[in-house]
């Protein structure tokens, strides 16, 4: 038992703060003050038996999939467990390793639990700590994240508890410790939670590299990933366990039935445009909700969450503090308050975003509301699963459309849900920036040789096809700085000493660890009260930079006035006047997923055949009817193209239904290729359903839209030429620069020491563009624009479909219900909100009059 050290002032302050806070801390558990547990008498059975007894004492019977997972672990397998939320995934992965640890009792870290949550949920901690009591011995559980106190971190550099909960970033920081090989050598099992969330992102790639390293330090370690249902489970499993083992898949058909109800609008405008059902639906939702039922109201963007919270509060002031708001930019303390309130029942209704998708286990809510299309089936299933956590009970979801065409989306989603058509999550292909960061981590954490690390990296499925040249490119990046000789004479990062690559500069080491420890996100400006300095949360720099002192906006349900922007902090005052705007967060709009897009095309085909039996389609009938009358309802066989002429010019509308990312690339590509046929200037507009090209002078669209226009040849070059790839690449470069260590975070504590080397990614990009245009990170930025922003794989498939044809060509009298939202999108891009409303009303008026006249 470690001796009791006198507490430092800091420790005393922390303890006082902890005592004041109701929730348990993430600090160490079961150290100093606890009396020693007597070792359990042998007659109580093996650890596994005792754990089974503990299960029974809680009234639980192990599910078949849990037994399967425990047996697989005992065999020495690694694998992936895929069952719905709340069905017992954690225990499936944890109990067997825990029993093994209790049985053999090796010193040091033996079970590592990796979670993507930035703030490790106390619920996860509690779940892992609970069974330790009955096992006797001195097992401890700790967590290690960006929030872990410095004193704890210091101790963890020397020795680790038996069970550690951590994040991918903190794991990398620990791997950069030169004692890493020793610290991790006793590892038996790694459990990776929410693998489906990590898999499609660079954090997942980083995790894969870290896992490959752990397998080097502890050759017998078993990896178990926990995931929600995905279309590509086998691929997901391979990425979790690495190329060295065949993964075991453990699943269960425990999918609860999902009951979907769509709140139907009373009257449907034949001119649908985003959000126009707005407040009409809000008041109906307000009438439907009941604080006696715990409810989550999911919205797709933070701005929408703010507006709905405000609207519901206005409609039902009597709910008071029973109604709360929760999203990623709200201050952590406030978010935790809301989460606790949900658990103890003092908060009954929460308007939230994906912020409440993961990790927080507050028991089943009785009702889940989804405002606007969830844009994906996997996400819908996950959210519906928040209701009725008990295995077997039905999940209920209430869809609230925000415009008429969303009714069609929801009808499609309902069918796809029933068929469980979830999306795949595709890992990024061999990103260079993540590898470069990892190389520095390994150089710090014991050093490496070229061949052995290259082979190790290839055991991570994401880098299985890494070529020697690509590896050397990453190595050159961290040893030389870049491809051009003599362009980086003073560069010092990783150096070679007799065939071994290490880091010798203490400052480089410190900056590297500092950088990994934060998660890349858009430059966030802190919001603080002018008086008192209390923190409210954060907004994106791009939003706040457009405000002037005196401007008002809505945040966390409060109307605030900007007093002053100072560096990365915006000081605000409570405002009396009504807010003139709501902050917009750039990452808000997810495109229509592949599954939902496919389902939607299917549903439209049904409508086209006259099958409008579902409630949603019946409610959307006025729109569908207008679409059929003016043009056609799109079918599955052919892609619909419409042309029409208005006072604005000559329009082409095309509806591939592939999501706005793909349509952005497609629109620019088509504009470029069309201008090669005949000189013209096009204004472009896109949404999830299709795209619009508008030109002031007549253009032979029908003639021009031949299969050759949609060829996949020269796709990359044409996209490069047609789009402001430079601008998009610059934005991508920001993220890449952060990961690769070119840009350091402006952390308050570190600012002083990193002041000399603070530079914006934008500035660096310009310098690279000018003096090192062939830099591989610039190339990566451009490639990512194509692969991720325009969803290249999907774009290629869309082109294939268009090339193979046929196209269904219709000349319409005026923009149709499908085309109308695109027109509005184009107008709204250049006008303020007020005039947009007026302008739309005027257009509608004119067209309704024309309609009535011609009818």
């Amino acid at each position: 038992m470690p001796a009791r050290r006198p507490r430092s002032l800091r420790a005393q302050l922390q303890a006082a703060r902890r005592a004041a806070r109701p929730a348990p801390s993430t600090g160490p558990r079961r150290r100093a003050p606890r009396p020693r547990r007597p070792p359990a008498p042998p007659s109580a059975g093996t650890p596994m038996q005792r754990l089974r007894g503990w299960f029974a004492s809680k009234g639980w019977t192990p599910f078949p999939f849990q037994e399967e997972a425990w047996a697989a672990y005992a065999r020495g397998d690694s694998g992936l467990i895929h069952v719905p939320t709340g069905a017992g995934k954690t225990h499936a992965a944890y109990i067997a390793p825990l029993a093994e640890v209790a049985e053999h009792g090796r010193e040091g870290l033996q079970i590592l639990y990796v979670t993507p949550l930035r703030a490790v949920s106390r619920d996860v901690e509690r779940a892992l700590v609970e069974p330790l009591d009955l096992l006797g011995g001195d097992l401890a559980v700790e967590s290690r994240t960006g929030d872990t106190a410095a004193a704890v971190r210091q101790r963890q550099r020397e020795s680790l508890p038996e069970v550690l909960i951590t994040t991918p970033e903190s794991l990398s920081v620990m791997l950069s410790n030169e004692r890493a090989p020793a610290l991790f050598s006793s590892l038996r099992a790694v459990i990776v939670d929410e693998w489906h969330e990590l898999l499609g992102t660079k954090r997942g790639t980083q995790t894969e590299l870290a896992l490959a390293r752990l397998r080097r330090f502890a050759p017998g370690v078993r990896t178990w990933a926990l995931s929600a249902t995905l279309a590509n489970l086998e691929e997901a499993a391979r990425h979790a366990v690495g190329t060295g083992a065949a993964p075991t898949l453990v699943g269960a058909d425990l999918e609860r039935p999902v009951e979907v109800e769509t709140l139907l609008p009373e009257a449907v405008d034949t001119f649908p445009w985003a959000g126009h059902l707005g407040y009409a639906m809000l008041s109906r939702v307000a009438a439907r909700l009941d604080p006696r039922e715990s409810t989550l109201v999911f919205t797709n963007t933070r701005a929408q969450a703010e507006r709905w919270f405000e609207g519901l509060r206005f409609a039902r002031p009597e709910w008071g503090p029973l109604l709360a708001l929760h999203h990623g930019s709200i201050d952590r303390d406030e978010r935790e308050r809301v989460e606790r309130g949900l658990k103890d029942g003092t908060v009954r209704l929460v308007v939230c975003t994906s912020s409440l998708d993961l990790g927080v286990d507050f028991g089943p809510v009785e009702r889940v509301v989804q405002v606007g299309s969830p844009k994906g089936i996997g996400r819908t299933l996950q959210r519906a699963g928040r209701s009725a956590h008990r295995p077997g009970a039905t999940s209920r979801l209430l869809f609230v459309p925000t415009h008429a065409l969303e009714l069609v989306e929801m009808a499609a989603a309902r069918e796809a849900l029933a068929l469980r058509e979830v999306e795949p999550r595709t890992p990024p292909p061999r990103p260079l920036d993540v590898l470069a960061q990892h190389l520095v981590t390994c150089a710090l954490g014991g050093g490496f040789t070229r061949e052995s690390l290259r082979d190790e990296v290839r055991t991570a499925a994401a880098y299985a096809r890494l070529t020697d040249a690509e590896f050397d490119q990453a190595l050159t990046l961290v040893t030389e700085g870049g491809p051009t000789l003599r362009a980086y004479p003073e560069f010092r990062r990783v150096v070679e000493h007799g065939g071994r690559f290490v880091v010798t500069d203490a400052r480089v080491a410190r900056l590297h660890r500092l950088n990994i420890g934060t998660i890349a996100s858009d430059a966030a400006v802190e919001l603080r009260y002018w008086r008192g300095g209390a923190r409210l949360g954060s907004v994106e720099e791009s939003y706040v930079s457009r405000l002037r002192p005196g401007d008002t906006f809505l945040f966390a349900g409060r109307t605030l006035e900007l007093a002053r922007l100072q560096g990365l902090t915006a000081y605000v005052r409570p405002a009396r006047a009504k807010a003139t705007s709501t902050p917009r967060w750039a990452g808000g709009r997810l495109p229509l997923s592949t599954s939902l897009a496919t389902a939607m095309r299917r549903t439209l085909e049904q409508a086209r055949q006259g099958d409008v039996t579902s409630d949603e389609l019946a409610a959307a009938w006025p729109v569908l009817e207008a679409q059929a009358r003016l043009s056609r309802i799109p079918g599955q066989e052919a892609v619909l193209a419409e042309t029409c002429q208005t006072r604005d010019g000559h329009h082409l509308f095309l509806y591939p239904f592939e999501g706005r990312g793909v349509h952005e690339g497609l629109a620019a590509l088509l504009a470029l290729r069309l201008t090669r046929l005949q000189k013209a200037t096009f204004a472009l507009s896109v949404n999830d359903y299709g795209l619009e090209l508008l030109t002031p002078t007549p253009f032979p669209f029908e003639e021009a839209l031949r299969p050759a226009l949609f060829t996949r040849e020269h796709l990359a070059e044409d996209v490069d030429e047609s789009v402001n790839v430079g601008e998009l690449a610059k934005r991508r470069f920001r993220d890449i620069a952060r990961v690769a260590g070119l840009v350091l975070p402006g952390l308050p504590g570190a600012r002083k020491s990193t002041r000399q080397v603070q530079a914006s990614a934008s500035l660096l990009h310009d310098v690279f563009q000018r003096y090192e245009p062939h830099h591989p990170l610039l190339a990566q930025a451009r490639r990512e624009v194509l692969e991720q922003h325009f969803e290249e794989a999907r774009l290629v498939r869309a082109l294939e479909r268009l090339e193979q044809g046929p196209l269904e060509f219709v000349h319409a009298r005026r923009p149709t219900p499908l085309g109308f939202p695109l027109v509005v999108e184009r107008i709204s891009a250049s006008l303020s909100n007020e005039s947009l409303l007026e302008r739309v009303e005027r257009l509608k008026e004119r067209w309704t009059r024309d309609d009535a006249r011609s009818a």
Binding site: G481, R486, R492, R507
Partner: protein, 203 residues
């Protein structure tokens, strides 16, 4: 007084040119910290400065502070390069008004043959210095702030370096391209001149 697109201030009557905040050695500082910024900015800066000196025929160059970025940026290669450059303009008198970065960097190489002043240089109706603080009775030309101005049009947003000519103080843009900047806060009576490539445009 002339505002030049090369990010310099010219006073033909006095045969004088002034620039501010070159921050030479910044690239080297970054590289030393393990951040791979490519070398190349210095050459461009020196070429630009040479062309200004030749075009104006100036006899005196005023450096309004932050000539160097940091002590570790003063690598032997940098010192040599600047000494060589200095020699090509041997006839020009070069005066440095020290700025905060200069102070931190310590004594500068004598090979650079600079007349180093701690505070300010008063000449005619003007005061030339690093920090933009007003002085009664004189118009102050200074640096330190790296002024930038934001311009936006349809979708496009630009930030351009600029001269911020106030009523008592005129701030020069940072001379080097590899420097961050601060958006100007404009008050009534002040003028802003943005640098867009080959031209200086009042905005």
């Amino acid at each position: 007084m002339e505002l030049l697109p090369e990010r310099a201030l010219a006073w033909p009557e006095a045969g004088l040119v002034a620039v501010a905040d070159p921050h030479w050695g910044k690239t080297e500082s970054f590289q030393r910290h393990g951040i791979p910024v490519p070398t190349g900015v210095l050459e461009d800066d020196l070429a630009r400065l040479s062309s200004v000196l030749l075009a104006t025929g100036a006899r005196r160059l005023l450096l309004l502070g932050d000539l160097v970025h940091s002590r570790e940026g003063l690598t032997p290669a940098l010192v040599r390069r600047l000494a060589d450059w200095r020699r090509t303009h041997a006839a020009v008198e070069m005066v440095l008004l020290r700025g905060n970065h200069d102070l931190a960097a310590g004594p500068l190489p004598p090979a650079w043959e600079l007349d180093v002043r701690e505070d300010a240089l008063d000449l005619g109706p003007f005061r030339f210095t690093h920090h933009p603080t007003p002085t009664p009775g004189r118009y102050v030309w200074a640096g330190h702030l790296h002024p930038q101005v934001r311009l936006s049009s349809r979708g496009e947003r630009l930030r351009l370096p600029c001269f911020h000519v106030g009523r008592e103080v005129g701030v020069l843009p940072a001379f080097s391209a590899f420097t961050g900047g601060l958006d100007v806060v404009r008050r009534p009576g002040e003028r802003v001149f943005a640098l867009a490539g080959p031209s200086v445009i009042e905005v």
